[in-house]
């Protein structure tokens, strides 16, 4: 396997392992760790694995989904899509990997449509959450949205609802910037 495919394979394999063992919290931690790596590498493929890990975490935390009689079948279906992506990576076929990721998203959408009461899908929410992680790791809003495939506006709203900006106080406060604004437009 080439280096890039090898790294993607290693992380996706962990995702599948945690999912098969129903380790929801480890999936969440894994998603976060992968996104950090995705930012450093600016790797959209790595970000996709982060999104998949997060969405599987969310699924496992939804009682009405995992306790449903359909769950066993749904879990196999999602695992099969991940398995196909792993096979594609073993063959260094990034195009096929993407197709398998699309197939995963389609399968998830069917599950989501069956169970969800919300207009915004699980995948879309996961993309926004993972993009907010990318923003936390230093990327600009637009870069983070692009990396995780999230909607730019939804990301900005989501980031606003988190405490990230409370941890990053700007060097110049409102008063100083206001003074500069007034001087620029009135001067």
């Amino acid at each position: 396997m080439e280096k890039q495919a090898y790294e993607l394979h290693r992380e996706l394999e962990k995702t599948l392992k945690f999912f098969s063992k129903n380790e929801a919290m480890r999936l969440r931690e894994h998603s976060n760790a992968i996104m950090r790596h995705a930012v450093l590498l600016n790797s959209r493929h790595m970000a996709q694995i982060s999104v998949v890990s997060y969405v599987l975490h969310k699924l496992l935390t939804k009682e009405h989904i995992v306790r449903h009689e359909r769950w066993k079948r749904n879990k196999v279906s999602l695992s099969d899509a991940i398995q196909s992506a792993l096979v594609a990576l073993e063959r260094n076929e990034l195009g096929e990997f993407e197709q398998s990721m699309d197939s995963f998203a389609q399968r998830l959408k069917k599950i989501d449509n069956f169970f969800s009461r919300f207009m915004q899908g699980l995948m879309e929410k996961a993309r926004v959450k993972c993009a907010s992680d990318a923003y936390f790791f230093g990327m600009s809003l637009s870069s983070a949205a692009e990396l995780a495939g999230a909607d730019r506006k939804k990301l900005q709203e989501f980031v606003g609802a988190t405490g990230v900006h409370d941890k990053e106080r700007s060097m110049k406060g409102i008063a100083e910037r206001l003074k500069e604004l007034k001087a620029a437009i009135e001067g």
Binding site: L41, G138, S142, K153, I174
Partner: protein, 225 residues
């Protein structure tokens, strides 16, 4: 007429709140214009206007364009290559053992170049990373190091080149524009007067994603006026 270039982050914060028209009134009364790039127009009007969930914001911004306080500036080929060059430089400012850290999107670099080319007096940008690359690159390096838990180095020459190039450019957020609108009485029709109204406006912008801390808001509200 003096102009302020708006990045999409500021446009989103303001148009998502009820302050947008009041800011429009402020601009008209003060002889100001908001300038956006065609890329920002595409991102904030042309694409979302066809998506039901995002249509209202897009309509608000389109109304701002139609009523004349927002102007769209197209970028020609030579400027486009400058944007590409700036984005490339900004994305080589910081690096780890794995290589350069890509931080900036083309759209954010476009806002900086547009501000430079149009001779704008101010750049309005709610997004924090671009602002920090220009204003406080060393703090951004430390932030990256802390968040990634690894050594992050700065390409000093490139970083200084960017800071020097945009040194004269004043960067504000939607929060400062809202305070100005408040002080000049343009928010009273929407949210009334008094400190509580200002507090509500600032927190609304914060929750729309403007990069401002609660501490900054509280500190500003507590200042003698």
């Amino acid at each position: 007429m003096k102009s302020i270039v708006f990045d999409s982050s500021t446009l989103i914060s303001l148009s998502s709140s009820c302050l947008f028209n009041a800011v429009g009134e402020l601009f008209k009364a003060s002889g100001l214009e908001a300038v956006i790039s065609s890329g920002v127009e595409a991102e904030s009007v042309l694409t979302p206007i066809n998506i039901k969930r995002l249509e209202l914001n897009a309509m608000r911004i389109r109304h701002g364009i139609e009523s004349g306080w927002i102007r769209i500036a197209g970028l020609d080929e030579s400027v486009n290559s400058e944007v590409t060059e700036l984005a490339g430089k900004a994305n080589s400012c910081f690096f780890t053992s794995l290589g350069n850290i890509t931080l900036l999107h083309r759209g954010e670099a476009e806002a900086l170049v547009l501000a430079e080319k149009t001779g704008a007096v101010v750049l309005a940008m709610d997004e924090r990373t671009t602002r920090m690359i220009v204003e406080e690159p060393e703090r951004l390096r430390k932030l990256l190091e802390k968040r990634h838990e690894c050594r992050v180095q700065k390409n000093q020459a490139v970083s200084e080149e960017i800071s020097k190039r945009f040194r004269g450019l004043k960067i504000v957020r939607s929060s400062e524009i809202a305070v100005l609108a408040f002080e000049k009485g343009f928010l009273s029709k929407e949210i009334g007067e008094g400190e509580k109204a200002l507090e509500a406006a600032l927190y609304s912008l914060k929750y729309q994603g403007c990069a401002i801390s609660s501490e900054e808001i509280e500190e500003f509200l507590g200042m003698p006026k």
